[in-house]
């Protein structure tokens, strides 16, 4: 091994020290199809010496097969990924690129150009510190350019670099470039971008990518790579401390640490903190890093905190500077970008994830939709994929937050569909709505549909009928447990229980049996009006009564579930000892013995509970529900 003092070794060590200490710039790059984004990126990486030689060779080979340059090297091919997109010649998703110099490492979100892929820009723009927007020098600022800048702006990107490409095709004309540069600056200003810069390039000829081009002597600024190395970074170190609790680390009774990544500010031992939204206060006892205690830590750092007092803190809470806690609200004005092919409907229930908190949410009102090209406000009752709306949002509980413009981590959220579990929307909290200002509630008439909507479900009546001991209650209970676990609101009306209360005055004569069923059916109907899924578990032996119950409900709401076990099986089980008593003559009119059971003719679900397990039966009921 070479001695440390040898010059070559020292040079390596110095270079590595520089690399270890470099910082990061997160970039989102976007452009319309054919503006030359792929060529630009590929060429930049190649010129900067970032592409491994075997991959360059592969690109040269591929250029002969699928290149657009008549067999000459097509640098855009360096970036192609999926077979499908290569075949179709389109880019369907954000692709992540990594490169760096001794000064800085770059994480590049390469965003697709097509209008219908606006949603894919969200992931790229959401974390970006710099946006690069491609502009074709022949065309200047286009509708698409405007759209890209608008989305960057919505996601809080404060700095945009316009890469005016294909300068070779306008003969490197300074006057035309100056005109486009003015248009770009104007666009940035109107869309609220704090810093808008421009740079003249030709991806094809590598002008102003890594070195200043002799063909643009009139351009005084840095080449692209130098610009990226030198552009100032904005950090969130100055704000008040806030950390969403990600997990409670409790390996044993002696230790309870609150684990999380700091969303803003700095924290040090001894700091007074408040836990939001509960408002409990304490002091920081320890700030723990990856392998020992720290005196303090700052934004973006992943730490474990312990508090001086034993208070109740769980995942989703925010530990914050006691003097400047984040705000708390349950209703918000927000911007929302819809991602799913199934449109957003106001009043529908979704799950919302904000930092580490997940809870039920609904959009109560779409105030307007934003035309992505003109920024005009359009009326809207729904949001389709790729559409952006300004909305009011209502959460199931209060949460701690910051307006997105102040903090991305505490103001950016996603919406998740409860059924498919897909991520269907993303948005930015603009401001909290105080309850008394909250006029939108009056927009919704509180009717049956509204009550059901707030629960995110279709109300139903599941009518379990069958002999005593057939398994009605067992199966109904299993079904309810499953539904409950999936977030549905349910209630069970069980024969035995109702007879102890509401129907205490009724016996087992035919007339009383009819009244028994009538009352239960009416109660079930009221509960359906309240939006619930009602599981009725009654022997209900007579066809006529069951039909009477069915008649109270709308089509599709009532499901008759025949829990069918042969009499001898039920009698053998005799869980409650009733069959024995009936056989001994101690119970008159017992169904199956002293009184008939009329099996349903066309039940929606027919369960063979004599042979099939209760769990399987329950599963079949849930499938039949089709929720």
């Amino acid at each position: 091994m070479a001695a440390v003092t040898e010059p070559a070794t020292t040079m390596i060590a110095e270079r590595l020290e520089a690399l270890v200490n470099r910082d990061t710039l997160r970039i989102a790059i976007c452009g319309s199809v054919d503006d030359g984004k792929s060529t630009l990126l590929g060429r930049l990486l190649a010129e900067a010496g970032m592409i491994p030689e075997d991959r360059l060779a592969q690109m040269v080979r591929d250029s002969r097969k699928h290149g657009t340059q008549g067999g000459a090297p097509d640098y855009a091919l360096l970036l192609d990924g999926l077979e499908a997109e290569r075949e179709q010649g389109i880019t369907i998703d954000v692709a992540w690129r990594y490169f760096g110099t001794d000064k800085r490492a770059f994480i590049v979100a390469d965003c697709p150009g097509h209008a219908q892929y606006t949603r894919n820009m969200a992931s790229g723009a959401s974390n970006a510190e710099l946006g690069i927007v491609l502009v074709d020098a022949r065309a200047g600022v286009q509708t698409q350019t405007r759209r890209h800048v608008a989305i960057l702006s919505m996601f809080g990107v404060q700095r945009v670099l316009f890469a005016v490409n294909k300068l070779d095709l306008i003969e490197y004309d300074p006057a035309r470039y100056a005109e486009i540069e003015r248009e770009c600056a104007q666009l940035a200003r109107t869309l609220g971008i704090a810093h808008g810069d421009a740079i003249p390039v030709s991806a094809l000829n590598a002008d102003n990518l890594v070195a200043s081009s002799p063909r643009t002597p009139w351009y005084a600024g840095p080449p692209l790579l130098s610009y990226l190395e030198e552009v100032p970074l904005e950090r969130r170190g100055e704000a008040a401390f806030a950390m969403p609790v990600q997990w409670v680390n409790r390996p044993d009774h002696s230790f309870r640490g609150y684990v999380g990544s700091i969303a803003a500010g700095r924290v040090a031992t001894g700091d007074e903190v408040i836990v939001m939204p509960s408002g409990q206060r304490s002091r920081i006892a320890r700030v723990i890093g990856g392998d020992g205690d720290l005196k303090s830590a700052q934004a973006d750092q992943a730490v474990t905190l312990t508090l001086a007092d034993q208070i109740d803190v769980s995942r989703g809470d925010v530990i914050a500077d006691a003097a400047q806690p984040p705000q708390v609200a349950a209703q918000f004005g927000c911007h929302l970008l819809w991602l799913d092919d199934v449109a957003l409907l106001p009043g529908r229930r979704y799950l919302l994830k904000l930092a580490t908190r997940t809870l039920g949410a609904q959009v109560t009102e779409i105030k307007h939709r934003i035309d992505p090209d003109t920024q005009a406000q359009l009326a809207a009752t729904r949001l389709s994929a790729n559409e952006i709306g300004v909305c009011n949002l209502s959460l199931d509980a209060e949460v701690a937050y910051e307006p997105y413009a102040r903090n991305r981590r505490l103001g950016g959220f996603i919406l998740v569909d409860r059924e498919t579990q897909a991520t269907v929307g993303c948005g930015t909290l603009d401001f909290g709505l105080r309850r008394d200002r909250n006029v939108h509630w009056q927009h919704l008439d509180v009717d049956r549909a509204a009550r059901a909507r707030i629960k995110g479900q279709q109300p139903r009546c599941l009518w379990f009928t069958g002999l005593s001991g057939a398994g009605k209650s067992t199966i109904a209970n299993l079904v309810e447990r499953r539904l409950h676990a999936e977030g549905f609101h349910t209630i069970i009306l069980d024969g035995d229980n109702i007879r102890h209360g509401l129907n205490r005055d009724l016996g087992f004569t035919d007339a009383d049996r009819v009244e028994n069923i009538r009352r239960v059916a009416e109660v079930a109907k009221l509960m359906l009006d309240a939006g619930l899924i009602v599981l009725v578990s009654f022997i209900s032996p007579f066809r006529a009564e069951r039909d009477m119950a069915r008649a109270l409900f709308n089509d599709g709401e009532f499901m008759e579930v025949f829990v069918d076990a042969p009499l001898d099986v039920c009698e053998q089980r005799d869980v409650k000892g009733l069959y024995a008593k009936a056989r001994a003559g101690q119970i008159a009119n017992f169904t199956g013995i002293g009184s008939p059971y009329e099996p349903p003719e066309n039940p929606e679900v027919h369960l063979h509970s004599g042979s099939e397990g209760a769990a399987d039966s329950a599963k079949r009921v849930i499938e039949a529900l089709g929720l």
Binding site: L16, T24, P52, V94, G100, P251, K295, G412, Q421
Partner: protein
Amino acid sequence: MTGTAAFQTHLDRLEAESIRILRETVAECRKPVLLYSIGKDSSVLLHLLLKAFYPARPPLPLLHVNTTWKFREMIEFRDRIARETGVELIEYINREGIGKTDPLNDPSRHTYVMKTQALRQALADHGFDAAIGGARRDEDPARAKERVISLRGAGQRWEPRKQRPEPWSLFNTRLAGDETLRVFPLSDWTELDVWLYIRRENIPVVPLYFAAERPVIERKGALLVYDDDRMPLNDGEVPQPRRVRFRTLGCWPLTAAVESTASNLDEIIDEMLETRVSERAGRIIDHDPSDSMERKKREGYF
């Protein structure tokens, strides 16, 4: 106390973000596991895992899918690391494949049965709903669009169209039906980042990464280090001592070594900055069409 370390470098940020991803997985998933493949990326991943839950021990096990053709030094290293860290290590071998597949004659089938299929079985047998792996996006163009948290449908298949957007790195870990997750905390790391971090943190790695004299045979231009006598030698083939090292580690008959004198971390990094050949070039199995990674991914390989 280590005081107020300046937190601002690229490596600091990569580290913090990876730790956040590991913690989020543990906080939200029912039964996560960390896929430990003994290589440098796994070493980094394990190091991050220990940091993420310090001062407690990580609340999840490691899973090593052993193809039975790993270098002996890898297995020794694995067992030592498991002992030293005290993290539970589960080894899974697809017993049905032993003796029936041969990496020498049919490498694709060997990889499919002993790696892809074995991994699927191991995850299903243990009921893991999230498998954390050390794959990076910069490894291969087919990975450039992979999510940090990747959704796998029935049979652990990867469906490009069902992948969830991840704005603000807000991960949606909710599952429907028989879906599972693959979690890639090192998504944003490059090969260079990995080595710089190993250097900064003094993370132990398998000695095979460092150049040393090893018994080498040359076949079709690839340098193979002869690790045990399961490989029949061709006529006139005699392992020759040569100074070589590995950039990537896998099954020994499928991983080519490179001639090198780089015997410490600084020299390795310097060599990497100078030579500029992608690390997958050393994986014999990836040498067929350039789309092979994507196809394997659809089948459930990483």
